[in-house]
Symmetry: C12
Subunit: 72 residues, 12 copies
């Protein structure tokens, strides 16, 4: 399976300015992109060749293969 | 599996002007396409070699492998 | 798996002139084909090397792997 | 898996002259074959290297992996 | 998987002279074989390199992966 | 998977002289073998490189992946 | 998967002299081996490069992936 | 999968001198090994490159993927 | 499957300063990155070519394929 | 899958001197190793390139993919 | 599947100084790393090219694919 | 799948000095490593290129894919 079939998560912002931050895959682990979401917006994001971790800041619901979790 | 078997999401617009925005796969993560939906229209969109994240703006229902979520 | 095994959706038109629009896979995302359906007609359409997104306009029922959704 | 294992649909005609229309895979999407069914006849048709979409006209029941749907 | 593992259907004739017609795979879609069944006979037929669609004429029960359907 | 893993059917004869007929795979579809079963005998037969369809004549029970069906 | 993983059947003889007959894979379909079972003996036999059909004569229970069947 | 992952059966002897007989894979089908079991002993035996059929003589319980069967 | 499909865990911080520490894959096992989470933040992190163990310090909920566990 | 993923059985000795005997894979089937277990000891043993059958002598419980069986 | 998809275990320390010890894969089996956990800390650790066994010392809960077990 | 994905067992010692003994894969089957566990310690051990059988001595609980078993 190539990268187009990578696993994804779903983030729904519950307030203005929720940040979904991609962290780099590889030797260094640093922020490479921050996507800002307005209240109510939904982002569906895959793991990629460049992203091996995702951090969510601000009030949001995150859907993953283990179920949903609310940031707080 | 090649890209024609990529996972997809389903978006149903609940108002005029819902935006389904494709974000680029790769080193940069930026908007590469915005598809506008009128009220009631449905879009089914795959992840592709060019799209590794999808953002939904405006009132819509989004169906994913983790279930459905309403923007708003 | 080759393209002949690609995933498909089912569209049933509930009025005259429902449009099932194929959007191009690749760098550009634009309409490449519009199939018009008369009331009651059913279209089964795969994702292909050329189609990575499908838009439905007009009153229709759309069956996908996440369940059915009615445009409205 | 090669094409002989492609997915298929089942169509049962409920009136004379039901049309099961194969649409071409590839850059152009056009009708390449129309199979006419008499009332009560059943057609089982695979997606192939040449067919990536199938349209059904006339009163019929269509069985797919998402369940059955009646035209009309 | 090679062709010997292709999917199959089961047809049981409910009257004399039921026809199970193989339609050609490829650019042209035409009848390449008609198997006639007497009342009560059963035919199990695979999709093959040469057959991508099967049509059933006359009173019969057809068993497929989506369930059974009676021609009428 | 090679041919030794091909799918099979089970036929139980319910009278003398039941015929299990192998039809050729390939361009021509003709009888290549007829196995005669006496009442009560059971035959388990795979699809092979040479057989892509099987016809059963005479009173018998046929077990397939879609369930059992009685001729007659 | 190679032939050592081929599917198998189980035959239990319910009288003396039950015959489990291997039929040849390939262009010709003929008996290549007859294994005789005494009452109560059990034979577990795989499909192989040389056997694509198995016939059971005499009173026996045959266990297959579709369930058990008694010859009569 | 190589031969070390081959399917196996389990035989429990219910009397002295139960015989578990390996029959050869290939053109000839003959006994190549007889393992004798004392009452209560258990033998777990795989199908192998050399064994494509196994015969059990004497009172025993045989466990297979289709369930258990007692010789008699 | 390449690294973009690697398994992941989900960490939700329940206090300020939760640490999610990546330990190196390979001959040496040492800390190569520490991601700090504020109260309520969620981190989804894959195992990668560089990370074969992950340690969580501070009050958090950790979701894994075996269920959830709270640090304490 | 290589041999490290081979299937295994579990043997628990219920008396002193239980023997778990490995029989050779290949043309000859003979004992190549006897592992003696004291009462209460447990042995977990895989099928390997050298072992295609395992015999258990003495009072023991044997756990396999078809369930547990007690020698007697 | 490469090593990034290796199976993992989850260890939660229930006292200070729990040790999670990696044992070397290969001809020698010896300790190559000891990770110390404080009370309440959680470690998720994969099997790797260098670790084929893991030992847990001190009060902890260990989650595995067979369920959870408490050291004592 | 390579060896890092090999199956594993879980051993919990219920007394001092439980021994988990690795037996060599290959022509000879002999002890190559003995890991001693103190009361309450847990060992998770994979089958490897060097270990095809594992013996447990002393009071312990052993978790396997067929369930748990207590040495005695």
């Amino acid at each position: 399976m190539d990268a187009t079939h990578g696993d994804y998560i779903v983030v729904k912002a519950k307030e203005q300015g929720v940040q979904v931050i991609g962290l780099t895959r590889g030797l260094d682990t640093k922020f490479h992109h921050t996507e800002k979401l307005d209240r109510g917006e939904v982002l569906i994001a895959q793991f990629t060749d460049h992203t091996s971790a995702i951090k969510i800041r601000g009030k949001a619901t995150v859907m993953t293969k283990y179920g949903s979790v609310d940031t707080d």
